[in-house]
Every structure is written in structure tokens, then in C-alpha cells.
């Protein structure tokens, strides 16, 4: 067993343990052992606000992808041949363009003279163009779009695993479409929901390009704090400490999720 697992262990060691150990080392060693970098994170306001903002954006974006992604995955899982492929293709297609391109596309759409504002003012729905970008709102919209596939795909996989017979059985036993959805389909799709939520949430916490370009300099997420520490101030120690705290926060999230959701009941259904 150990022998069989050893290549995998080596990969984990090289790609995870060594780099993480390296930056954790940097965060406490700056010409000598120090906890100064961590102390600063806990006393200075900027850091706190950045962490709070990052978690808030992550929550909103995750909820947004679930709200939009669930119906899309449902349609892809339940529709017949040409339609399911078409929907999945539309979901996966953006993967082939870079995040940078997609972010700029949102900039073009949402800016003061962009398509959305032209439409809104043209229809006299608003007098003045709205500030849709260079703020948290624009960041969230673009992040929801970019992260949507990471929600749809696990949802789709879980929904595809629900046997059609269970839905038919629900109907034959007297359950109307809504009843069968609530009592049978929804609970059985929960493993996909948990997987999608976790994936998108964690991706959000480390998101960089989109908030940097669409946040207007006021939406400072943790990743940007790290980047600034390195690029502007050449403070590897401070950057590493922030990354360390973020990592800890992610682990805490997993721990809490694992504690309070009956994960093994949701995921372990043979």
C-alpha cells in the first residue's frame, strides 16, 4: 500500500508541502525568528478590512454562482440529447479564453459608456449612467461569471447520478413535479451543491486579476495585499504571513463545514 502510494506522496511533497513550508518559513524568519508580520496583521486595520471584504465577496459570489448555476445544471442534466451538450458547451466555452480577456470584456460592458449603461439610459430607466464598475459590484458580477463553470460542473455531475427511475417513482407514487423536486431531486443533488460551494468559495478567496482590474483600487482583496507587499515594498515576510492567515482561514472553513454539515451522509451515498 505504502509503496503504491509513494509516487503520489512524492508529488504532494514537491507541490504542496515544500512550497507551503517555504512561505510559512519566510513569514516567521526575517534575518532571525520573528512574529512581527503576524502581529501587524492582527493590529492593523487595513488587513482586517481586507479579510472581511474578501470573505464577504466570496460569500456573495458563491451564492450568486449557486443561484445561477443550479437551473443551468438542472437543464443540462434533464434535457435530451442536443440540448444538454449545447448547454454544457456554453458553460465550458469561456474556459478557453483567458480570465484577463473575460475581465476586460466586463469592463467594456459595465463602464460609464458601456453597453449596459447605454441601454439603461436609452430606455430612460435611469437619468445618469450608473457606476457599475471600478467598485465591488463590478468585481462581483465578473467573478460570478468567471467562476460559474466551477459551480455548474460539480452540480451537473451530481445531478446526472440521480437515476431517472427515482423521479418516475416519485411521480408514480403521487408526487407532483414540485413535490418530487423538493423531496427527491434537491436532496440528492446536495453533494454537488456542497462540492460547488466549496470549490467556488475557495477560488474566490485567492482571486486576483478581476478585483485588481474591476475593483477601482478600493476593492482590496487579500490576494492584492499579498501582491502589494511583494511588488511595492518587497516584503516577502509580510506577504507570506498574510497568505498563511488566509490558508488558515480556508482550513477553518473546511473544518466548520465538515463539522456542521452531515458531509459523509451527503457525499458517501453508495
Amino acid at each position: 500500500m505504502l509503496l503504491l502510494a509513494s509516487p503520489a506522496l512524492l508529488v504532494v511533497l514537491a507541490l504542496v508541502v515544500v512550497p507551503v513550508g517555504w512561505f510559512l518559513g519566510l513569514s516567521v524568519y526575517d534575518g532571525g525568528f520573528t512574529i512581527e508580520h503576524y502581529r501587524r496583521i492582527f493590529v492593523e486595520d487595513v488587513y482586517w478590512r481586507s479579510f472581511a471584504l474578501t470573505f464577504r465577496i466570496a460569500l456573495v459570489v458563491t451564492a450568486g454562482t449557486l443561484l445561477l448555476g443550479y437551473p443551468v445544471a438542472y437543464a443540462a442534466a434533464r434535457l435530451a440529447r442536443p440540448w444538454d451538450v449545447l448547454i454544457l458547451l456554453c458553460v465550458v466555452l469561456p474556459f478557453w479564453t483567458s480570465v484577463l480577456v473575460r475581465t476586460y470584456a466586463w469592463l467594456v460592458l459595465l463602464q460609464r459608456t458601456g453597453l449596459v449603461n447605454q441601454l439603461l439610459t436609452g430606455l430612460d430607466l435611469v437619468g445618469e449612467p450608473l457606476a457599475l464598475v471600478h467598485n465591488e459590484f463590478g468585481t462581483v458580477v465578473a467573478m460570478v461569471h468567471i467562476l460559474l463553470p466551477f459551480m455548474v460542473l460539480p452540480l451537473y455531475a451530481a445531478m446526472k447520478k440521480i437515476p431517472d427511475e427515482l423521479i418516475l417513482a416519485g411521480a408514480s407514487l403521487g408526487g407532483g413535479p414540485m413535490h418530487v423536486f423538493r423531496r427527491v431531486f434537491l436532496p440528492l443533488s446536495l453533494p454537488g451543491v456542497v462540492a460547488g460551494l466549496t470549490l467556488v468559495f475557495v477560488l474566490c478567496l485567492g482571486f486576483y486579476i478581476t478585483p485588481e482590474l474591476l475593483g477601482g483600487g478600493r476593492t482590496i482583496m487579500v490576494s492584492m495585499v499579498v501582491s502589494r507587499n511583494v511588488e511595492l515594498y518587497n516584503q516577502w515576510g509580510a506577504a507570506s504571513a498574510v497568505a498563511g492567515v488566509l490558508l488558515l482561514a480556508v482550513l477553518a472553513v473546511f473544518f466548520v463545514v465538515g463539522r456542521f454539515l452531515p458531509l459523509d451522509r451527503l457525499l458517501g451515498q453508495k
Binding site: G170, A171, L173, G174
Partner: protein, 360 residues
């Protein structure tokens, strides 16, 4: 529960085409209230399609369905009040046994206070008293089967449909469940339409058996009639252990099997392409005078011991293969000649079954 009366089911000219594939071809069939009817046929003969049309999952391409005189052809499944037991049971894996069985009550908005008692009573009927809180994964195949049955019965439907409900069980359990289902059917009084590809199962359980082939209804009859009066060579070959041999018509009561004239008690059907269906149990070892019985003689090729009976394979003079069964008690076994020895046989005219060959 026993006072529930079965539903009358009238299927008229039901058809279903999947693109170019005709899954069901103008099948008409009336089922009396409280009757147990099996749909029997090889895989792909349209059994599940017909059951799907009755359950409302499959939209027929033509024809109509009536339950108790009401046209339900376009009624959605959840408004049909039909209990269905699916082939793989289709139990809800995220619910306990009790929750599964209570599902139809909840879906029908029955008062919550009545669930417990009805679930308990129904589980008792299938011998699962006290299993309410078990998870589905903790059950054996036979127990899951019973839960599926309880779930389909708990709302006292007047019609229950079952799609090969026993096919996943091993032989012993299957045979025990066949008898249990029969007894349950008597107690419930509901009409049951039962799909199977196992002819013994169909004969064991049913009041009548409908034989399907390539989407068509070939014959519907009582089990004994089906066995002794098959409509054609397909039915004769599908039921029992028949050997089918081509014969030529001599006159209304006589056919010729490779030169040997055989008399039959039933009129020989019209048409040139005729087949003699010899069931293994109807072929007897010759004893005493002929008494008007048909005589055949051949050579023993092999004798296979199968527990309660032996199957003897033999060859007629022209090389035609045949087989017969003998009970495995001393007197009968003693009379079977050894391999390579000549064997004399007789076939009673009442058991001489001549049918037209099935076209196609």
C-alpha cells in the same frame, strides 16, 4: 385493505414508436378487476414500454388506455393512482424505510398523524415490522424488494404495476417471493399487471399471461391453456421446454414427422409451414400396448441428472434430436435405457401439439 376492489384496465390499440423502432404495435388487452395478468416476452419485446404507457411515463403514439371506464391516456403519472414497483426498486436512498413508505401519503397530503399507523400496518404485511428507521443501504435485496412493494401498496391503489420485481433476487428467494406475492394479491384484491421474462414465474403467479413479441401481443390465455394450446411456434417454444420439429400435413388430424405419421386430437391448423411442439414432460417411455398413442423410436444420446428429475436426450432414426423428462425415483430411472441403447417412446394425441410456424 382487503376490501379494496381492483381496477378494470382496458388497453386498446396501444402503440409506441421511437423514431423508426416500433416498440409497441397496436396492443389491445382487457384486464378484469382484481385480475393478476403477466406480460411475458423476451427482452426488447415491449413489456416495459406497455407498463410505461399504463403508468403514464410513456406517451403512446396511438391507442387509448382506460381505468374503470375513465380515459387516462393523457393523465400525468401522479394523478393516476397506480402503485408501481420498478425493476431496481427505485427506493429513495436519502430516506429511511419508514420515510420511503410514507412518501405516497405525504405526496397525497394525508394527515401526518395517520402516517405512522399506515406505514406500520403496510410494513407488517410484507414482514418488515419494526424496520421503519433502517436506512435503505442496510437492507438485503429481498428486503428492499419488500419495501418497494410496501411503498406501492400503502396508499391502497386499485392497480399495481410491477416491472420484473424479482429479477435481481437469487432463485430460492425469488420462488418464495412469487408465492408471497400471489397470497398478497388475494388479500389486497387489487388488479396487478406484472412484467417478467421468466415463463415459469408468469405461469406460477398469473390468472392470465399475455405473450409479447416484437411489440405485438401474440396470445393471452390462462397458464394451462398457454402451455397446452399455444397459438404458434413462438409461444410453444417460449413456454415450457419444447423441442420444435417441422412436420407436413397429411389430413385434418394427421401430420408426418420425417415419414412417421402422428395423430393429433386437435384439428391441424391450415397452412403449409407447420411445427410439432414436443414438451419434455409429454413424451413418455413406451410401456405396454399403444392404445392409439403415437409411437416414436430412437437412440439415447445422454442422460442428465437434475435433482428432482432427469432429462434424457435422444435421437430419432433420421437424426432429429428430442428430449424428455423422467422423475428421479427408482422405478422411473430403472426404465431409462443406457447411452447408445434404443429407446421406445409414445406421445398421446391430446399431447400432440401442431402449430403454425411464426413468421418473421
Amino acid at each position: 385493505m382487503a376490501e379494496a376492489v381492483g381496477e378494470r384496465v382496458e388497453i386498446s390499440e396501444a402503440s409506441k414508436a421511437y423514431g423508426p423502432v416500433v416498440a409497441l404495435d397496436r396492443v389491445s388487452l382487457d384486464v378484469a378487476p382484481g385480475e393478476f395478468v403477466s406480460l411475458l416476452g423476451p427482452s426488447g419485446s415491449g413489456k416495459t414500454t406497455l407498463l410505461g404507457i399504463l403508468g403514464g411515463f410513456v406517451q403512446p403514439s396511438g391507442g387509448s388506455i382506460r381505468f374503470g371506464g375513465r380515459d387516462v391516456t393523457w393523465t400525468p403519472p401522479h394523478k393516476r393512482d397506480v402503485g408501481i414497483v420498478f425493476q431496481n426498486y427505485a427506493l429513495f436512498p436519502h430516506m429511511s424505510v419508514g420515510e420511503n413508505v410514507a412518501f405516497p401519503l405525504r405526496a397525497r397530503r394525508q394527515p401526518r398523524s395517520s402516517w405512522g399507523e399506515r406505514v406500520r400496518r403496510t410494513l407488517a404485511m410484507v414482514d418488515l415490522t419494526g424496520y421503519e428507521d433502517r436506512g435503505i443501504h442496510q437492507l438485503s435485496g429481498g428486503q428492499r424488494q419488500r419495501v418497494a412493494l410496501a411503498r406501492a401498496m400503502v396508499f391502497e391503489p386499485r392497480l399495481i404495476l410491477m416491472d420484473e420485481p424479482l429479477s435481481a433476487l437469487d432463485k430460492q428467494l425469488r420462488e418464495a417471493m412469487q408465492i408471497e406475492l400471489r397470497q398478497l394479491h388475494r388479500r389486497l384484491g387489487a388488479t396487478i399487471i406484472y412484467v417478467t421474462h421468466d415463463q415459469r414465474e408468469a405461469l406460477t403467479m398469473s390468472d392470465r399471461v399475455a405473450i409479447l413479441r416484437n411489440g405485438r401481443l401474440v396470445q393471452i390465455d390462462r397458464p394451462d391453456r398457454l402451455h397446452d394450446h399455444p397459438a404458434d411456434s413462438f409461444v410453444a417454444g417460449f413456454i415450457g421446454e419444447a423441442t420444435l420439429l417441422p412436420v407436413a400435413r397429411i389430413d385434418d388430424r394427421t401430420v408426418s414427422l420425417a415419414g412417421t405419421a402422428l395423430v393429433t386430437a386437435r384439428p391441424v391448423p391450415a397452412g403449409a409451414d407447420l411445427v410439432l411442439a414436443v414438451q419434455t414432460e409429454k413424451l413418455l417411455l413406451e410401456e405396454g400396448p399403444a392404445d392409439g398413442r403415437n409411437r416414436l423410436s430412437g437412440t439415447v444420446v445422454d442422460t442428465v441428472y437434475q435433482g428432482e428429475s432427469l432429462r434424457v436426450f435422444l435421437r430419432l432414426a433420421d437424426g432429429t434430436g428430442l428430449s424428455l423428462r423422467q422423475p428421479s425415483h427408482f422405478e422411473a430411472v430403472r426404465r431409462i435405457p443406457g447411452v447408445g441403447q434404443p429407446i421406445a417412446l409414445s406421445l398421446h394425441p391430446e399431447d400432440t401439439i401442431v402449430v403454425p410456424r411464426t413468421e418473421g
